[in-house]
């Protein structure tokens, strides 16, 4: 517990060693952002010849530990109790804080998911640490062991490099979908320190009454994403988007306001507050290209945009553009693809016979 105290610098930063990563899990399953963190942590640990520790809190930690170990970490610190089945800030924050204070890591990485940020922001205060939120590039300086935490700023137009020189641990949360999931390795050498803990009842006052799961739509792995924006004009036009997406073997994405208006479910949203995609082809239909949207799709290999405004901002980020009404272009484009497929599938059948 912090109380109203300042972030005091530590006297001997050299006493703080090793890399911690927090492994987010939901209902006993490791999440992809957790695996991405292992990848980043491993890279840093190798660079400064230190160990990678994974912190796991939950009700079925042992099973998840096997999986975590198979992605290559040196030590698993686990706290296990039936009371920890679901993420709740208070008990999770206390347990993670205990691990940090006992083990004194130099670096602590947490995925910038909603629960990850919920947790990281409290640990940073209780451990009097410095934290950089939502990093997209993370590195460590070999000689000083200072973390270089880089995050987009000013609406993604700039990248700020942020350092924390005198406080420990050096914390960062990392944006999901940016860092690769590491290759699997032999996890048998990983040391497991899993404790059965008793959780103070005072920390368990938050009741989780209900969880309404939604069919998760993972846009991040899609090869083709076709997204609709306000330029569609009406919710029904998402049908046209869907038809094109189906014809392209892709999935449907959306800009934020279309989700806000309920034209489509939030799970399809691309952008700063939605998903980050990097498909082979991104098709933007009636999307203006505001920076918060661009952040979520600018790493696409190819971008095709359809917009009625010949000066649309999105064109700056596009390889191909069609200046016309989406309601005309979408059916026409879908038809052209059908035609092309028909012609070419026939050809391949002929030549192979």
């Amino acid at each position: 517990m912090a109380g109203l105290i300042n972030a005091a610098a530590v006297e001997k930063p050299e006493d703080y060693r090793n890399i911690f990563v927090y492994l987010e899990n939901r209902n006993g399953e490791l999440q992809r952002p957790a695996l991405e963190m292992i990848g980043v942590g491993k890279r840093l640990a190798e660079k400064v010849h230190e160990k990678l520790y994974c912190v796991l809190i939950g009700s079925k930690v042992s099973e998840m530990a096997d999986e975590a170990a198979s992605y290559g970490c040196d030590v698993i610190l686990g706290a296990e109790s039936p009371d920890l089945a679901e993420f709740r800030t208070m008990p999770y924050a206390r347990l993670v804080e205990d691990f940090v204070k006992r083990e004194k890591p130099n670096i602590f990485l947490i995925p910038a998911t909603r629960n990850g940020r919920d947790l990281a922001s409290r640990i940073a205060v209780s451990c009097q640490a410095g934290v950089t939120a939502d990093c997209t590039e993370i590195d460590i300086e070999e000689d000083t062991r200072i973390l270089s935490a880089n995050r987009p700023t000013y609406g993604e137009s700039m990248l700020a490099e942020i350092l924390c020189k005198k406080h420990r641990p050096q914390m960062a949360t990392a944006r999901a979908g940016i860092f690769p999931v590491p290759e699997k390795v032999d996890g048998s050498k990983c040391e497991r320190r899993i404790e059965k803990v008793k959780v103070d009842k005072a920390l368990l006052k938050k009741e989780i009454l209900e969880f309404r799961k939604k069919e998760a739509i993972d846009l991040t792995a899609a090869k083709v994403v076709v997204s609709g924006g306000l330029g569609l004009g009406a919710p029904a036009a998402f049908k046209l988007v869907e038809k094109l997406a189906n014809e392209m073997n892709g999935v449907v994405g959306a800009s934020r306001p279309t989700a806000d208006l309920g034209w489509i479910s939030r799970d399809h949203q691309v952008g700063q507050t939605g998903q980050t995609v990097r498909p082979r082809l991104y098709v933007a239909c009636g999307i203006s290209g505001k920076i918060q949207h661009i952040m979520g799709m600018k790493n696409s290999e190819n971008v095709l945009s359809i917009n009625i405004d010949q000066n649309a901002e999105i064109f700056k980020y596009s390889d191909y553009v069609i200046v016309d009404d989406v309601n005309k272009v979408l059916p026409a484009l879908t038809e052209e693809i059908k035609k092309y497929k028909k012609a070419h599938v026939k050809k391949t059948v002929k030549s192979s016979s």
Partner: protein
């Protein structure tokens, strides 16, 4: 049952209007003199949550903000929407604060106000966009938190809220005192009324400085911040050709997409 009125505190920040940020090409810093300031939009949603809780339970809504003197427009605006009281925590010592001293300063302000049941913050600010300040304040105050709420209700000394997570909606119930953070666009903020605008101008808002909070100057602002910005780089975007097509030659576009393997007849 006796109605228990709620004392609610809302944390609001004034931010540069995100639609028109102007970056100084030499220093790579925000050119504040060319940028219009507005109330952080998610904080307007936070204020609306507070006002609707007060509609229901009775009580008070106090708005607090740490920022420079020009944040007065935000203070008046919040009062014109219905806040009972507004406190601008302002002092040159607070400048350059990262999330730690910002949380410390706001938590200290809340302690000084004394009585509260619910603290409401926005999900994140559009300029720092960390989402860390709200939970940081909760940690300083040692109270529970409910982040990323799309809906917040109150009953019998408990907040019942819906949290939006990546894979679904979580409905939670937490006894007060508690801090909640509210999602952008999760409600429609009520309008400012002329009547309340006039009242606000008459009543005015309070300005608290460092001395009032009684914090050591080295605990706040840039001196109290664990992190520093070493440098800024502009993000170089890949140059893209924006090759033009129209309804008459969509066939050519489709052929090109397949020939370049951007679209494939069969996924491998």
């Amino acid at each position: 049952m006796k109605k228990v009125p709620l004392d609610i505190i809302v944390m609001v920040k004034q931010v540069p209007d995100s639609q028109e940020v102007v970056i100084d090409p030499v220093t790579m810093n925000l050119n504040r003199s060319l940028t219009r300031n507005v109330t952080n939009r998610a904080d307007e949603n936070a204020l609306e949550v507070a006002l609707s809780l007060r509609d229901k339970a009775g009580g008070t809504v106090t708005v607090i903000s740490m920022g420079p003197p020009q944040a007065e427009t935000t203070m008046y605006e919040c009062m014109a929407r219905g806040a009972d009281r507004a406190i601008l925590v302002s002092d040159r010592f607070f400048g350059g604060a990262d999330t730690y001293p910002t949380g410390l300063t706001l938590a200290s302000t809340i302690s000084k106000i004394g009585k509260f049941d619910v603290v409401v913050a926005g999900e994140e600010s559009s300029d720092s966009s960390t989402g860390h300040v709200g939970p940081g304040v909760a940690e300083f105050l040692n109270i529970d938190q409910i982040t990323y709420c799309s809906h917040v209700d109150y009953k019998d000394r408990h907040v019942i809220a819906e949290r939006e997570l990546e894979d679904g909606t979580e409905v939670v119930k937490t006894p007060t005192p508690v801090l909640v953070t509210v999602l952008l666009n999760s409600n429609f903020p009520r309008r400012q009324t002329l009547r309340r605008k006039i009242d606000a101008m008459k009543k005015g808002f309070e300005v608290w400085n460092l001395e009032k909070l009684g914090l050591p100057p080295e605990w706040v602002g840039v001196r109290g911040s664990p992190t520093i910005v070493r440098r800024m780089r502009s993000i170089k975007e890949k140059e893209r050709a924006a090759k033009k097509f129209d309804l008459s030659n969509l066939g050519n576009l489709v052929s090109e997409l397949y020939e370049k393997n951007i679209l494939k007849l069969e996924e491998d």
